[in-house]
Symmetry: C2
């Protein structure tokens, strides 16, 4: 059983990529986790937002397997404290028996089809963060959750 972080678009900033990967590396031995980047859509300049969302949604849906437990990172999702989320995550990992896929979408949000496919929606904050920055914030939060689950001291990084 493993955790996949499915993101739309490459992380183009090398500093952000490095910081994000650093948290994922620290999870080695505690969790099988990988980040999968899907290529951005091409020729989107004149594409209406709704069309773009639907096409992005199709791309993401293609990358999911029917057995995946899918969690969208979404401002309208459920909010947790880090401790609550660690407990929720530990419970899912122990009982689901399926791979978990956390989906970080594009700048325009998710399509209706993707909302219907999702098993959960998680909100990191009522504030909007850039979707590239969300990757780093989520990786840190995943590492923090495992530090909490394993009772490891983790004060800062």
């Amino acid at each position: 059983m493993k955790v996949r972080i499915l993101v739309l678009g490459r992380t183009d900033n090398p500093h952000l990529r490095l910081l994000t990967n650093d948290y994922l590396k620290r999870l080695t031995g505690m969790l099988r986790v990988e980040m999968q980047e899907l290529d951005d859509l091409k020729n989107t300049q004149n594409m209406p937002v709704e069309v773009r969302k639907r096409k992005e949604g199709e791309k993401i849906l293609k990358a999911l397997s029917p057995k995946d437990y899918v969690i969208l990172l979404d401002e309208k999702g459920k909010t947790f404290t880090s401790e609550q989320w660690a407990a929720h995550l530990a419970n899912k990992l122990n009982h689901l028996g399926r791979d978990m896929v956390f989906v970080i979408g594009g700048a325009y949000g998710f399509s209706e089809e993707l909302y219907r496919r999702a098993d959960e929606k998680l909100s990191l904050s009522p504030m909007t963060f850039s979707h590239q920055l969300v990757r780093l914030i989520f990786a840190e939060q995943l590492y923090r959750a495992f530090s909490i689950i394993h009772g490891k001291p983790y004060h800062n990084a």
Copy 2:
């Protein structure tokens, strides 16, 4: 009138420093903003948490002027959407007539004295983020707020 971001401890990670400074640079021309890093306390290995919090609080209080409008970045603070916060910030900047100081503390939270001095408490999320990462997240949110205030498109970075 200007905005100061007062942080305890140097940003030791060069990638994090670069990303944070990039958002502050982008604010040039829209806002007079500076980040001020206070040195961490020394010899804290055997210091009880309460003593440490009090000493850190004294250090931060010394860096404040009596006229400063002080906002603590605190998990127990008020939450906003990015749009709500942009409106709140614009209102304060227009009417306060004083410098605003956003304080990002250490890993152990703020002292009682500092809570009493504060004019506001702002929460970026119910989740806990590393206090070094909070600098980057806050800088991005400040830039986002000004993009909203000035009606500039800002989808991602």
